[in-house]
Each structure stands twice: as structure tokens, then as C-alpha cells.
């Protein structure tokens, strides 16, 4: 499990559509700042800024090549964030279904106990 700060940073980084588009491009293979700037019609400094956010979130790593410093996608934080997002609502949907079953059981038990303890007046 990654540090809490890490997951928060992942969500902050993913909140921006340009950064998601950059990630989608990097999913096809590593790319330099120049190569990323072209299709997005953005200046290199603007792309660099987004890359820094993605790097801090652990979503992207940069190569050693001093000239190109290619960016590469890091998949693991993304997988963790996706899992959490998909699970939150599902957690409650499933838990409440469990609760339905438990309540049925409690109602049955209550009736049984009620019959046993209540003195019979009629008949």
C-alpha cells in the first residue's frame, strides 16, 4: 500500500484532462517533451509543468538521456486509484444487500422469541 500522500497526489494529477491525455499518449510508448508538445499544440514549458505534476504523483518517470529525457508511464498508482474509485459505491451497494439478509434473519428470530416469551391468552 502506498503512502496516503501518494494516493491524494494521484487523484489531483488525474483531475486534469490534459494530463489524462498525456497519460493516454504515454500508454502507447515513451515520449520526449517535444514529442508530447506537438500533438497537444502546447508550449514545451506548459507540457513540462504537467509532466512535473504527473512525476510527483508517481504516474510518470523520466529517462536518464540528458537530451531527450523521455517520459514513461508508471502503471501501478493508476491501477490503485482506479480500484478505489470503482469500489466506493460498490462497497455500499453490496453491504446494504448483506444488511437486507441480516435484517430478515433478525426479524425471524424476533418472531420466534416473541412467540416463546408471550403468554398465550387466547384459544
Amino acid at each position: 500500500m502506498r503512502s496516503p500522500v501518494g494516493l491524494d497526489a494521484t487523484f489531483a494529477a488525474l483531475a486534469d484532462p490534459t494530463r489524462r491525455a498525456i497519460l493516454a499518449r504515454l500508454a502507447l510508448g515513451e515520449a520526449s517533451v517535444l514529442e508530447l508538445a506537438k500533438p497537444f499544440d502546447m508550449s514545451q514549458p506548459a507540457v513540462s509543468k504537467h509532466l512535473k505534476v504527473l512525476e510527483r504523483a508517481g504516474l510518470v518517470s523520466r529517462g536518464r538521456d540528458a537530451q531527450r529525457r523521455p517520459s514513461r508511464l508508471e502503471a501501478r498508482p493508476l491501477a490503485e486509484a482506479t480500484r478505489w474509485l470503482a469500489d466506493y459505491r460498490q462497497f455500499w451497494v453490496r453491504s446494504f444487500q448483506n444488511l437486507d439478509a441480516l435484517l430478515e434473519e433478525l426479524k425471524r428470530n424476533g418472531k420466534k422469541q416473541g412467540r416463546a416469551s408471550r403468554p398465550r391468552k387466547r384459544k
Binding site: L78, A79, L85, A86, Y88, R89, W92, F96, N98, L99
Partner: protein, 164 residues
């Protein structure tokens, strides 16, 4: 309507999420199920594969609760803790909520109310987060399917790359 179909999860105001759900049982039983540890650990489990090895509840104002979930096969653990601020038996509970893993920063305040009508109980849960940003991030899980879909697409692409 089947009670299963009564689940709703919607944003409210700037910082809240409201969840509602009906149950085919009197409110006392629902209240017990929310506050007695031997009952809570039997339903508050989420998707299959999770158990709740730790479920401690000190049901009094200022008392705390502690839940830990564990995945059977993966061994992953998830924990949550909080403090009770208000308890009105069978009607209303207010408590704080903080995940060990800090899915969101700070604490949330959870208000649960139970209303009974014709033997059915409506549970309303209001979760108040400490900022709009936090609330919106949590809500993405249930509302913004497009966002999830785009993450899924990314994952598909990743999976293809890995399999090549």
C-alpha cells in the same frame, strides 16, 4: 419497489454526499445492525472476499469505533476509525470517519438518520467532507462514469502493452 432498487447516492451542497436506502424492517433492527459490533461485522463487508476481523464499538458520545477489513486471498487491509458525537437510539447517529489510508484528507462527519413507515425503514446517510474538492473526488466513484471509463480505457491499453 424492491428495497434493493432504493439505493441513491447524490451530491448535496458544496461538501456533502447523501446516500439513502430503504430496508424492509423496523427501525430498531436497523439501528441495532448499525451499532452492535457482532451485527456490524456480518454485513458491512462490501464486495465478496472481504472479512472484518476488527469491529469495536464504544457506543456513547465521545466513544470511538474501529473497523478493519481484510481481503481473504490478497491479504490487503483497510481500516477506519472515528468518534461518536451524537447518539439518539433508533433515530440518529453522528460520528466522525477517518480512513487509515487517507483516501481523502482530513475527517468526514457522518450523520445517519432512520425513519420508519409501515414497517419499512429509510436510512439516510449524510457524509460531510472538509472540502468541495475532496467530496468531488469521492463522488467520481459513483457519478462520473466517463472518468472511470477513461481510466479503464487506459488500463486496457496498458494490458495490451504488457501482453505484447
Amino acid at each position: 419497489m424492491n428495497v434493493r432498487d432504493t439505493f441513491k447516492c447524490t451530491p448535496s451542497g458544496e461538501r456533502e454526499i447523501i446516500m439513502t436506502r430503504e430496508f424492509d424492517a423496523p427501525r430498531k433492527l436497523v439501528f441495532d445492525s448499525l451499532t452492535r459490533p457482532e451485527l456490524v461485522c456480518r454485513w458491512l463487508l462490501g464486495p465478496e472476499g472481504w472479512t472484518m476481523p476488527v469491529c469495536e464499538i464504544d457506543l456513547k458520545v465521545g466513544g470511538s469505533y474501529r473497523y478493519v477489513w481484510r481481503h481473504d486471498t490478497k491479504g490487503t487491509e483497510m481500516g477506519i476509525r472515528g468518534v461518536y458525537r451524537e447518539i439518539a437510539p433508533t433515530e440518529r447517529i453522528v460520528h466522525t470517519e477517518k480512513f487509515d489510508q487517507a483516501w481523502y484528507p482530513g475527517e468526514a462527519i457522518v450523520t445517519i438518520t432512520l425513519a420508519e413507515r409501515n414497517g419499512r425503514t429509510t436510512l439516510t446517510m449524510i457524509i460531510l467532507y472538509d472540502s468541495r474538492e475532496t467530496r468531488d473526488n469521492v463522488l467520481k466513484s459513483s457519478m462520473e462514469r466517463g472518468v472511470i471509463a477513461s481510466y479503464n480505457r487506459l488500463e486496457d491499453i496498458l494490458a495490451q502493452l504488457v501482453s505484447k
